[in-house]
């Protein structure tokens, strides 16, 4: 049985069958029914083809599954490589455990040197494990995606999590020194490229955060309004932050979805953006990422890791607020064996933020 002949790329000809499957699996207004969004997410400036990087299983004119990969440029110990983020993987129940998932994965990763995914379904863990992925999940008792939060309005957060007796510290005022200049920008210009070239050695394995990537991911997002900030000294960028304000009923969260900084600008940047968030009257801020980065600066600027209570009770999802989800798993695979000559990939040196995956996405309802 040749399963691969049933796998093809998403295109204009199978778009309708694809959306029919998506609607049956999720709901009529699910984000993947919006073509503009699908094309933006799966035809990035880093794609090797002009096609949409979604692979569908089509049997007798009916789409019965799909897997999407987001093409990205990666920094791997100083070398630029081609990588993909797996995002969105569904397969009809009648096709599960019959080889279609394995074949789709093989097709989707065929030209990538590195791949990663977050918030994958636990049922996929065995397949990832077996096919050479390094898996970080509750089951494996390894480090998951880390999350830090900073509480701005303790009373409202206590109400949000339903724990009136929990003690948090309010943020009344934040001071930032004047060694650096903090400003909001509309887009990232070429000076961010110089910054990224100088700082990327700090983030050994990560998405290349150059102007091409940052403007595609944040400035040109078809649906979300991201706030972009830079810190400069002597007209040179020393740090950047990307934030999205998420409102859910009476609560507002400042979601730091991307952040990179030279060591000596980390604290200023975080303090400055928190000062801005305070002016926006957010109730809390959060920042999720993998790896061993920024920890001491996050702590010194008042962020707390959510690996224990009361911070563990703070929801991940706010639209709508979801009190069930408590963690985000993570898995990666080094596909190009030659990369191991440049350095060994570990959880600690792999830097992925919320913005690098499909986790910061609209949730159409």
């Amino acid at each position: 049985m040749e399963l691969r002949k049933y796998i093809e790329r998403l295109n204009d000809n199978n778009w309708e069958q694809f959306t029919t499957f998506v609607k049956s699996w999720f709901h009529d207004r699910y984000i993947l029914t919006i073509k503009e969004f699908v094309e933006w997410q799966y035809k990035t400036p880093f794609s090797k083809t002009s096609n949409i990087n979604v692979f569908v299983v089509k049997i007798k004119e009916k789409v019965m599954g799909f897997l999407g990969v987001i093409p990205l440029s990666f920094n791997y110990f100083g070398k630029d490589i081609y990588g993909v983020c797996l995002a969105n993987w569904q397969i009809d129940e009648t096709l599960q455990s019959k080889g279609f998932g394995y074949e789709m994965l093989d097709v989707a990763l065929s030209d990538a040197q590195i791949a990663y995914t977050t918030a994958y379904k636990p049922v996929l863990e065995r397949l990832y494990d077996k096919t050479g992925w390094q898996v970080h999940s509750d089951k494996q008792e390894q480090m998951l995606v880390r999350r830090f939060v900073k509480i701005f309005d303790a009373e409202k957060v206590r109400k949000m999590i339903g724990k009136e007796d929990m003690v948090f510290n309010d943020v009344k005022n934040i001071s930032a020194n004047d060694e650096f200049k903090f400003s909001q920008v509309n887009s990232f210009n070429k000076s961010i490229d110089s910054f990224w070239e100088s700082v990327k050695k700090k983030y050994k394995i990560t998405v290349n955060r150059n102007s091409k990537y940052l403007n595609w991911r944040y400035k040109n997002h078809p649906m979300f309004d991201y706030k972009l900030f830079v810190t400069e000294k002597d007209d040179e960028i020393k740090a950047f932050v990307v934030v999205r304000l998420e409102k859910s009923g009476k609560y507002t969260t400042g979601r730091i979805v991307d952040f990179a900084a030279e060591d000596n600008a980390e604290e200023f940047m975080l303090n400055a953006v928190c000062k801005w968030l305070l002016e926006q009257k957010v109730d809390l801020a959060d920042f999720s990422f993998t790896g061993d980065f920024h920890e001491s600066t996050l702590e010194s600027t008042g962020f707390k890791e959510t690996n224990e209570e009361p911070y563990a009770s703070i929801p991940y999802l706010f639209s709508p607020i979801d009190h069930k989800r408590r963690s985000t798993n993570f898995a990666f695979k080094i596909i190009d064996e030659n990369l191991k000559n440049l350095g060994i990939a570990t959880y600690n040196n792999f830097y992925i933020t919320r913005g690098d995956c499909d986790q910061d996405r609209p949730n159409s309802r």
Binding site: M1, I59, L95, Q96, S97, K98, G99, G101, Y102, K130
Partner: protein
């Protein structure tokens, strides 16, 4: 080779524990990769070619046996 022995070999489980009700839902070893190997191994051992409707129809070991009987190889 019996069907149960082939399945046991691919899934790396004791073939004597395999019943008609054994399925991916109650057998964690029966994942996508092993499912692919299983189809290939069954086709090779019984010298048959499954079609896509047969693949879709399989829910458990009993269904595999029914399809092999339909092919008159069991």
């Amino acid at each position: 080779m019996k069907v149960e022995e082939i399945i046991g070999k691919i899934l790396n489980i004791d073939s004597t524990t395999i019943k008609d009700e054994t399925s991916p839902e109650n057998t964690s070893e029966w994942d996508s990769f092993n499912g692919l190997l299983l189809v290939s191994e069954l086709e090779k051992n019984f010298n048959v070619k499954f079609d896509i409707e047969e693949i879709i129809a399989v829910k458990n070991v009993g269904d595999i046996k029914s399809i092999l009987k339909k092919h008159k190889v069991l």
